[in-house]
Amino acid sequence: MENIITVSHLDLRIPDRLLFSDLNFSFPKNKLTCITGENGVGKTTLIKHILEDLRRHQNQHVQATISRNKIQYVPQLRNIDDDYPLNIRDFVSFGLKKRLLPWNSKKMKAKVEHILAETKLTKIADQPLGHASGGEKQRAYLAQALCSDPELLILDEATASLDTESKNFLLQMLKSIMRDKNLTVLFITHDPELIEKYGDYELKLQNHTANLSQKEAAN
């Protein structure tokens, strides 16, 4: 089994509290690993710490086979209210690889259309993102992240506010995109149903430690 990120002997503390001590685990490549644990255990803090170490090339405790710019993090909270004016197509395009010229090339536009189709957003691409449903918003966040051709995608509580149908739809879509693009996914979640159904691995965070276990879906 190939690993995409390996964490070794990592201690993590926030002001006045120890979150983790001597963490040792790896995230398997091309798999969907669910990161679970009680509220406040430090799931997001841990991920942010790993990303920050990778950005600064501090690989004493965190080693990765890819560089930071091949990782997309989809944050839990986003300031998108009902009034948010920009359409889904433009919002998704923010994820495109850096280019100096302000307009998009034909190739870039075609890529955005392809990703919109993949995430089933083509029909509503011209609508303001503010008018989209919760599930559509999450798909737009996912589409934006996909625009930069990531090798690792980190979703933070992406399904927290979705109904059963929308979250299953999102996860099925994610699974099929993972297969097409050889994508590795880390999914921070609380949802036992989704972990059982879609998780290949589960990284359980509790008592200052982490435990990686293989799930049914991996077989």
Partner: protein, 266 residues
């Protein structure tokens, strides 16, 4: 009307003001820095009166004060600029300072009026050249920065993790905003610049939903306001700034009305 030099200059100035207000206004609205923009224009007044007091061109005084404030807010985090309390303190303090400088420089009060309310028909050839050069510099910087600035403005949380140099981009944006305010102030006045930087872009987002169209429509709204305002002012002899604010407010009213009708239908 166009046989007068000053009217021709004013109409040309309108095009450049519309260009920079379109590009900057869309980002001001997306970043929710409308209130800070207002404060910055009061700081601009203070800077201009400092210029008068210190015997340097008011434009330099404005640039000095607004850029320094932009830098300060950028370094201490843009949140400071959104806090109600800090906005009130800044506005009050700088208005006070502006009055002090004017009083110390012993200029007549009509000088204050011209800084506060501008005089687009009072600009001469050299004012126009300054405006055009500064606008072009500003537009080039915005073009080079466009992608990261758009990501950072319209999706701050996404950009925070997936794009680098966000704070530098914010600081550069605030300095560009300071520059915009200083160059447009001499024309519409420091009290009313924020009208052109916020209202047209606010209105445009109710009509169109792509970034390019928002910028284009904002440009149209600003240009309409300035040109029609100039014409009406020429005909009636009432202040241009009055007509500009009325036209922009009407456009905003139409936008809100359209939005209300739309929601009523759904």
């Amino acid at each position: 009307m166009l046989e007068y030099n000053f009217m021709r200059y004013a109409f040309i100035a309108g095009v450049f003001i519309a260009l920079i207000c379109a590009f900057m206004g869309v980002f001001v609205v997306a970043r929710q820095t409308s209130f800070f923009t207002h404060t910055l224009s009061e700081i601009g007044f203070s800077g201009a009166s400092f210029g008068v007091f210190a015997g340097i061109p008011p434009l330099f005084g404005m640039l000095l004060f607004t850029c320094a404030s932009g830098l300060f807010i950028g370094l201490s985090g843009e949140k400071v600029g959104r806090r109600e309390a800090s906005i009130s303190v800044f506005s009050g303090l700088f208005l006070g300072l502006g009055i002090l400088f004017l009083s110390l420089s012993q200029k007549q009060s009509n000088y204050a009026t011209s800084i506060l309310f501008g005089s687009i028909v009072g600009i001469d050839r050299s004012n126009l050249i300054t405006l055009v050069v500064l606008s072009i510099v500003l537009l080039i910087v915005v073009a080079l920065l466009f992608r990261p600035l758009a990501y950072n403005s319209f999706d701050a949380q996404g950009a925070e993790f997936n794009q680098r140099y966000n704070q530098s981009i914010s600081i550069i944006f605030l300095i560009l905003l300071a520059l915009t305010i200083s160059i447009t102030a001499q024309i519409v006045g420091s009290l009313l610049i924020f009208v052109l930087l916020t209202i047209p872009a606010q209105a445009a987002k109710y009509f169109v939903h792509s970034l390019n169209k928002m910028i284009a429509l904002t440009f149209g709204f600003v240009l309409l306001g300035v040109w029609l305002g100039l014409y009406l002012s020429f005909v009636t002899n009432w202040p241009v700034s009055f007509f500009i604010t009325v036209i922009e407010s009407l456009l905003y009213g139409v936008a809100i009305l359209k939005q209300k009708i739309r929601t009523a239908h759904n």
